[in-house]
Symmetry: C2
């Protein structure tokens, strides 16, 4: 499904007829997320995993498992959040990999990324640098995971 | 300056002592942005350029020039917003390149990215897919540019 969407959008871009995201493309992403069997979070921290799972549950998604990797290595890349997710994709069988890392250079704040099993970037959410907000890492990760799902039009199926 | 920040942060990550963004790292990014002589926006659209310049002016930054490239080509990459900025860096002399593009796959919404002359990702801001919000591209770009600056703690020096 996503492969057809991408191909079609590429041809549109190439022909200069692309006019932004279409409703059925966004719907396709929601369907992909809600039909995923295995989700995983790239973290060795039980608190962060729990924070994400709390959000996933509220949106009616299955609980995520943990992918434990030396995520610090992603800090050497231009966009640690994205590369952390790519690391997770490569050492798991998950359909959706969730990772939180630095957006860019030190001081640039954080991003939580949702990626599919082919390293396709599905959605994301940002936070300001930690020193400029009052949230704990757990709170920030929860807020970002929630926003990443909401911005695709996904709705909570159960309350907090 | 950014080169020392990166090196230090990499060693901290490697040694496992990295504890998130530091105040002086964020301050360094603000200084980099406010001392930039040449800013540029990767767009061929005068309206988008004006929208960004309106924001830059409010934050006391110099006006950006236009970088006209076939940005559609970036749509073939996993994160079009970032690669559009990289395209801009490579064909300009700007100290800061601003680009807006798709976050990831079709349907994943948009991101505005601020990048330095060495493709370092300084800050960014996201919008939901266009079909889910009511804003024009111009409004969305203005909002994202503003948020990208604000999230680093930058303040407007003049009012709207």
């Amino acid at each position: 499904m996503l492969k057809e969407t991408l191909l079609k959008a590429w041809w549109e871009s190439w022909e200069g007829t692309r006019r932004g995201d279409e409703e059925r493309e966004v719907e396709g992403l929601r369907e992909y997320l809600t039909s995923a069997d295995r989700l995983a979070v790239v973290t060795g921290n039980e608190d962060k995993l729990r924070a994400v799972n709390k959000v996933l549950r509220r949106f009616g998604l299955p609980e995520a498992e943990m992918i434990r990797v030396p995520t610090e290595m992603a800090d050497a890349t231009p966009c640690p959040a994205i590369f952390k997710a790519i690391m997770g994709v490569q050492v798991s069988d998950a359909d959706v990999v969730i990772a939180r890392g630095r957006l860019g250079v030190p001081g640039s704040g954080a991003m939580t990324v949702f990626m599919d099993a082919r390293c396709r970037l599905l959605t994301a959410a940002l936070s300001p640098p930690h020193v400029l907000h009052e949230m704990s890492v757990k709170e920030a990760m929860e807020r970002e995971a929630e926003e990443a799902l909401r911005r695709l039009g996904m709705r909570e199926t159960t309350s907090r």
